[in-house]
Symmetry: D2
Subunit: 281 residues, 4 copies
């Protein structure tokens, strides 16, 4: 599936500074970028840095003078996703996992899985199939947590959200990840462009590692699961900030868009009954 994505970000530079952006579509086996354009106005040289495991594409550039700076990114991205039937999926025992996966089992800043162990076991521990567990906890979040702009801040974590029951996509994802890890299911944060997201914005959801595959879940259910373009993955939002700013530079506004570039988009949402999930390879 092909998407045209665009992002326009506006900053006000008060004192010269540096920005590291993390808004580029990621290169992955399943995600091909056929066209890509990135401009900074007024012009500034920029460089691309890739994180060690390739989970991020950082774009770093200086903001040498006072004034307004406009950043524009656009790309055509071709996504190969895979639908997987998890009905009889043999599980990979935790102790057989590849060490690269271990970190996604550990508690992190916003996903204190160590404090949610009993909660997770109490609610989802009786389910046998891993996919079913993750689908059930995603449903639980969707049904119990209210999507409420402005109800949380950058310090809000899964331990808050599980009780306070309000948040935005970031909080929904953190709680999903924390519950997975509490059930010994590796899980990671996923940022991307989401087709049909309203209002348009960067989106966050999460991937759980099931049967040797990273499978996508979105407890907000605000966008079809097959309508995403991956920007970055990480342990939680701390790893995948859209922008990191050094210097006195303030964010003014942004406009995000994602359009379907082919003819027929068939929206896919997981259904906890069919045990079919989607993987962004």
């Amino acid at each position: 599936m092909k998407f045209n994505i665009t992002a326009k970000l506006l900053y006000q530079v008060v004192t010269p500074g540096t920005i590291i952006l993390n808004i580029h579509a990621l290169h992955t086996p399943g995600q091909t970028i056929t066209e890509e354009k990135f401009t900074i106005t007024p012009y500034s040289k920029f460089e691309e840095l890739t994180s060690a495991h390739g989970e991020n594409r950082f774009i770093r550039f200086d903001l040498p003078q006072q004034g307004t700076v406009e950043v524009k990114y656009s790309a055509i991205v071709d996504n190969n996703t895979k639908l997987i039937d998890f009905t009889d999926q043999p599980e990979v025992a935790i102790c057989d996992l590849d060490p690269e996966i271990f970190p996604y089992l550990y508690p992190s800043r916003y996903c204190q899985s160590d404090k949610l162990y009993r909660f997770a076991m109490h609610h989802f521990g009786m389910l046998n199939n891993t996919f079913e567990k993750v689908a059930a906890l995603t449903d639980w979040i969707h049904e119990n947590v209210q999507y409420l702009s402005g109800s949380t801040n950058s310090q809000t974590s899964a331990f808050d959200t599980v009780t306070e029951l309000a948040g935005v996509c970031r909080d929904f994802a953190h709680l999903g990840i924390a519950l997975c890890r509490a059930l010994s299911i590796p899980a990671r944060y996923f940022t991307g462009y989401a087709y049909k997201l309203s209002p348009p914005d960067f989106h966050a959801c999460f991937e759980a590692f099931i049967g040797g595959q990273w499978v996508l879940f979105d407890a907000t259910k605000l966008a079809p699961l097959n309508g995403l373009v991956k920007i970055a993955t990480g342990r939680d939002a701390a790893d995948t900030a859209i922008a990191t700013i050094y210097g006195e530079v303030s964010f003014l506004s942004m406009a995000i868009n994602s359009e379907f570039a082919d003819n027929n988009f068939e929206p896919f949402y997981y259904d906890s009954k069919t045990l079919t999930g989607i993987s962004y390879m």
Copy 2:
């Protein structure tokens, strides 16, 4: 400097399980392992897994039958450490850091640097030299936090310790890391064998990234900084657990030792006045 290190761990297996240990001396450019012996009694096959960046050596083995299992590790390790004078060290600007270093700037489960920003700036922000800052915050921890066995648990984090002012080496390290990151200084958790640690145990301290080098600090001041053998590094204790156990297996006891294998050991502790630090390359 050469050390003879030994670890003996005893487990009681109730139901068959799997253990992943993280107690082997790490292979690093500066740390050479000249001899190494690892035995499991009764005999069990084991395999070594190396994490992506080589910050851990995981040893995984099965515990197939009920009963007591004894694990013994011994090694002779040759350590090249480097003393560095940070008096006029030119700083690497944060925005010029290598992306591999970025994660050590982010808040993590036990090091909520995002909540300690004002505290760190208030106490240490006025210092200009990065080494001096880290030495000052390490001193602050040493003077204000009481080393008190049993006062904390596996959920205790830097945000607790900064107020509750008691803990063990793990807590001292977490607070050091959190304060560094709050000051935009990359920092990571360090586990190892410590010479002259009393009572003998695995030890935890931290490294701060200063002038392009990882420099060792230990707010407990319980062991000389040049007497360590590195086991692992990570974002915090979540990344570097000594043992991860699957199955009903309980820890019974352990005996740890580290002896100096050469003639003259000259203990080194950083002195915040001389601005001289030590790096385990």
Copy 3:
């Protein structure tokens, strides 16, 4: 109903000190103490202090010399409780409450009702009858929180328990109170002697103010609701500590008992269906 209650407490005095005990049966309109005996061995003078509203009977005495001190309390208490049918109970609007009741609506140290507002509304807000609400939240606690000795400590609060889902009677009571207050139902902590509690111990539960009456609830369901002798009430456990000790005095052991002194004890537990509750007048 008549109960014979006894308490025996043993302390080790290291340096002379003072104890304030709060273990005496309370004098209330519905609770008559027909016999009462209190001894301290070795003999020490003691005085009784009554708190402003009569919710506590504090016994204060000095421990002038080193050694073991035994405190014995026994009483015969006659309790008049009232069963109330709340089916059509007209509610007292919050804004019509007596100001003496106001404090039981406020969040307190262990009952952070302000942080549980959304949780309480989400789970119980749709119920119309106040008694039904309190019964439903008490049932929820009973079904979701595991009674687990040693799982919590003196700093554990309702905000922890609602997620960590384990605790003792104190934690069950705190969560009940916090959820009531989050629903704008006044609630207070209740300590007492519980008939048929196993193992015998002091007990904690809570009262909700419904239809102008304090109605008893116990989310542990470990003892019949009509088998209690009231010691004290307060905002939470902070107000009703069994013993407050000044000086180096350590608690050694205790033995608590409550026997039924009449012929036929008919245990009463509220049933959320009949909407019948019990009030200790």
Copy 4:
């Protein structure tokens, strides 16, 4: 000393509701109200409720119809304060306190003294004189916590402020109270009208119980200690809310003023060196 105080509050009523205000000057032995005027426009009947111990004067009135409601309060208040030299003040041992004072030793919602024990002892435990201790902790707050409007919210507590080091008068008072109680010094929250407070607003500070007297402290140092008119006291802000609203009624604006009505106002601030404090009897 005589003060003219005025408060004007504006509310928008969306659906009929009830307000309980807590803005009237308190009647105390030392505080005489010589004139007082209270109006609600459009006219509404109101009643005054006094809390059990007389620490609050609640004014309750209905808001029967949609629209804007203006509340005006003005009073002339004559205050007798007492300066006390605490140099050789004999202390009342905690265990000799009157039971009415006990609650001010307990941790409360926003003053978790139980979690600050070590911190308080570490910083102030070495001081012998109680007044000196409270002055020292008040100074510590003043020097370490930044007064920053909007930095905290209604859930912020002393445990947050001691680390986050920013807040408003409410947070300064909560931290002062928590530290006092951690040192076994009874302390309570105090709301009032403050002379020379800029910008004019209701003010919060705290009283510590020293030598049998409630002594006023204000860690913000934004107003002279002898320029206050007491509205209410309580365990913390939970007890002394300015307004409690039932119904859909929103706060629009307020204007507060306090003028000196006599000739010569000599501002008094405690000085930790002279050990002289002020008590509002």
